[in-house]
């Protein structure tokens, strides 16, 4: 093949090759000699290492939906990452609490966040990241508000040997059957949500209830519905009277709601996500299903309450990753909410929280390992040490790279009880992560290689 092959070694920048590459021979000789220099150590070049961390600045690439249906959640996530990077670079107290060895940068280097629109599409996300790997030698990837993107980037991370921390991703598969050595997830997901909210529902409402499900017609939706339903039927003798499956991007839910209205359900368990959740919930209200039926949202959607209004979310049960009023119990959460609000003018939702924490955890692992070398960082994660998060201590499980963290159960407040215009939920319970999460091999995780 052509001498250009050696690009893959990532030892020298693309530009170097091409400057030399004006003459084919020149480029054929150069990369090999430089490779030899690095191969002398016991850490052969891998992914963007070491090129990506040789300058004064290391780059992180975020593929985040800024247009399209998940644009709202994407913009929120992006703010979380921006704040985290800012805190890493200035050595903010909150960051130092989460990652003590961070000191105005990471291992003496500034961190810079690059971001581009993924339109919530796997292909676009991979395209964006592939570019960043090529152009900027990014050492960390992030982004997703849908599990399709998370799964795609997981696989891409493993292929490119560049670390990936997931954005919002609710599918069991992300750290289940599609888990990878190079991918990590901080936030909760479908099965944990079901396991956390199920006991609360049984405690509150007792056994033998009838529930109608609304499920978006893709893998994520089906897995969450199954997780929730399995729990409720096996543990509480509940009955699924209907499961209304709607295509992604449905605008008018009237036909599904009509079916539910005629089903005799007492509970409406809405598994839809993003705009689908907003529209289906609003229309359930229009059809008079709410408040006659109790609405349960197993996987809370950032900004749902803001979009549909407190009249609808009043009394709704939801599981979430984080809610800002937890600042009263958790000092770190308080610092985060304040810093975020000061910078962006509103209180963060869990998308931003997940972004911030997953970056902080990554910064911690890098600084503890004292190396950007990906296998070192991965092994640091895999030590499974107990580390702080905004909601107390957590740890990453070495078997599937899932963060074992609490799940927060919230109930919608009535408008009159709201202390400010963002005080939509009251926290009912913080369910500890240990024991909540399925066994690491339950969904067939096989992490793959380090190199």
């Amino acid at each position: 093949m052509t001498p250009l092959d050696h690009q893959k070694t990532a030892i020298i920048s693309r530009r170097t090759v091409l400057h030399a590459g004006a003459g084919l021979l020149g480029s054929a000789v150069l990369p090999w000699s430089s490779l030899a220099a690095f191969a002398a150590e016991d850490k052969p070049a891998i992914g963007t290492w070491p090129t990506g961390s040789q300058g004064d600045t290391v780059y992180i690439g975020a593929a985040v939906p800024l247009t399209g249906t998940y644009a709202l959640q994407g913009a929120d996530e992006l703010k979380g990452w921006q704040l985290a990077v800012e805190h890493i670079n200035e050595g903010h107290a909150l960051m130092k609490a989460l990652a003590p060895k961070v000191d105005k940068g990471l291992l003496g280097k500034k961190v810079e966040l690059l971001s581009a629109d993924s339109v919530a599409k796997p292909n676009q996300a991979v395209e964006v990241e592939q570019n960043y790997i090529n152009q900027n030698k990014i050492i960390l990837m992030t982004g997703s508000t849908s599990s399709a993107v998370a799964v795609a980037l997981n696989k891409f991370a493993q292929r490119e040997k560049v670390l990936y921390v997931a954005g919002i991703s609710g599918s069991n598969d992300t750290t289940g059957k599609d888990c990878v050595r190079y991918g990590f997830r901080q936030n909760f997901f479908g099965q944990t949500a079901a396991a956390a909210i199920g006991p609360v529902l049984l405690k509150q409402f007792g056994k033998g209830k009838k529930a109608a499900f609304m499920t978006p017609d893709y893998t994520y939706g089906h897995t969450v519905t199954k997780s929730v339903n399995d729990y409720l039927t096996s543990q509480g003798g509940w009955e699924m009277v209907t499961n209304q499956v709607s295509p992604l991007g449905t605008q008018d839910f009237s036909q599904y709601l009509t079916n539910i209205a005629n089903s005799g359900a007492e509970f409406l368990i809405n598994v839809n996500w993003g705009r689908d959740a907003v529209l289906s919930t609003q229309q359930a209200k229009q059809f008079g299903l709410l408040p006659n039926m109790k609405l349960v949202i197993p996987y809370q959607i950032p900004f749902l309450a803001k979009e549909v209004g407190a009249e609808i979310t009043e009394g709704v049960f939801a599981a979430t990753d984080f809610w800002w009023t937890q600042e009263d119990q958790y000092p770190l959460a308080k610092q985060f909410v304040e810093a975020f609000q000061a910078k962006f003018g509103y209180r963060p939702e869990w998308g931003a929280e997940n972004s911030y924490v997953s970056f902080a955890h990554w910064a911690r692992m890098v600084s503890e390992a004292g190396s950007f070398y990906p296998p070192d960082v991965i092994k640091q994660y895999e030590k499974g040490e107990t580390i702080p998060s905004l909601l107390g201590d957590v740890h990453y499980r070495p078997e599937d790279h899932q963060c074992i963290r609490p799940v927060v159960i919230v109930r919608g407040k009535a408008k009159k009880d709201m202390k400010n215009d963002e005080d939509f939920w009251e926290v009912l319970e913080v369910v500890p992560g240990e024991g909540l999460m399925q066994k690491p091999d339950a969904f067939g995780c096989n992490l793959g290689d380090y190199t």
């Binding site: 644009a71 913009a75 017609d217 499956v245 295509p247 605008q251 009237s254 036909q255 005629n262 705009r275």
Partner: protein, 291 residues
């Protein structure tokens, strides 16, 4: 086994959805029938109507003002777009018209996102129409019932404009034979501008009256556009009546199939379109005149 109460409710859902599709499609079809331009920005016009109405609503708190503002604003957008851009495309190939309206659609959607962000917005129905109505055999959201009436009135109004006014006669003549209208010495360009405005207004009106049902977001028009295509293909391009019948058929198909397996609603819809194409290539009420 069929649950008859459910079946009747679903027929009703189909009627409401169908009426709305009919209104949007009729705008698309009269523009196409008269000007020969398929407006791929029609979905964006629908979205613009919702946003213009929402802005008016936040300032005045009146639903009526919102409806008027939404419709008028989109009409003005239509007239301006026709005057500044579409007019220069009448002599260019159909394909160029598709390209430019496709591009305009993107520009409108992203401009709205630029000004108003991605968060969805709600326009509540007027106080009288909040809540649900018990029809005896079923309960139904009051505003949706009203929506059926509102859309029906709009369709009748459109019918009167098309069939009972001088402009309407010229428009219909234009659908039959645009060359002939040309030779009658009528200022075709002015008529075209007006038709584009009226067609856009139909979408804008639908956009704002639908806003209390489906909250508005920048991407709200995209899905609607594909459905209106199906409606127009089923009904026959350029046929006002065809758009109405096509709309109702599409609405009923989507609703009734959802009783059995919602996942296949759209597949069945497209199969129906294919059947129409095979059996009646020009649509149920289309004429062979236009391609």
């Amino acid at each position: 086994m069929i649950n008859w109460a459910n079946f009747i409710s679903q027929c009703f859902n189909g009627l409401v959805l169908g009426a709305l599709l009919a209104l949007i499609s009729s705008g698309l079809t009269i523009i196409y029938g008269t000007l020969g331009v398929l407006n791929l920005a029609h979905g964006a016009m629908f979205m613009l109507g919702g946003y213009a109405g929402w802005v008016a609503y936040t300032y005045t708190g009146s639903f009526l003002v919102a409806v008027v503002a939404g419709s008028l604003f989109v009409m003005i957008v239509g007239v301006v777009v026709e005057r500044l851009i579409i007019r220069h495309f009448y002599t260019r190939p159909h394909e160029d018209q598709l390209l430019v309206t496709f591009g305009l659609g993107i520009v409108f959607v992203e401009a709205v996102r630029f000004f108003f962000g991605s968060m969805s917005q709600t326009v509540p129905p007027p106080g009288l129409l909040v809540g649900i109505t018990n029809l005896g055999f079923m309960i139904y959201p009051t505003y949706r019932l009203a929506l059926l009436g509102i859309v029906a009135v709009a369709l009748v109004a459109l019918y009167f404009v098309l069939y009972r006014t001088r402009i309407g006669m010229i428009v219909r003549a234009g659908i039959e034979d645009s060359v002939m209208v040309d030779s009658l010495g009528i200022d075709v360009y002015r008529i075209f501008m007006l038709v584009f405005g009226i067609g856009a207004m139909a979408a804008g009106f639908a956009g704002i009256v639908n806003a209390p049902v489906v909250s508005i977001a920048p991407d709200v028009g995209e899905a609607i556009l594909v459905q209106t295509f199906v409606v127009v293909v089923i009904g026959g391009v350029g046929s006002f009546l065809g758009a109405i019948i096509g709309g109702l058929i599409a609405g009923e198909i989507i609703s009734i199939t959802s009783m059995f397996n919602p996942g296949y609603s759209y597949v069945v819809l497209f199969v129906a379109m294919t059947l129409v194409l095979v059996l009646r290539p020009h649509g149920l009420l289309g004429t062979a005149g236009r391609e």
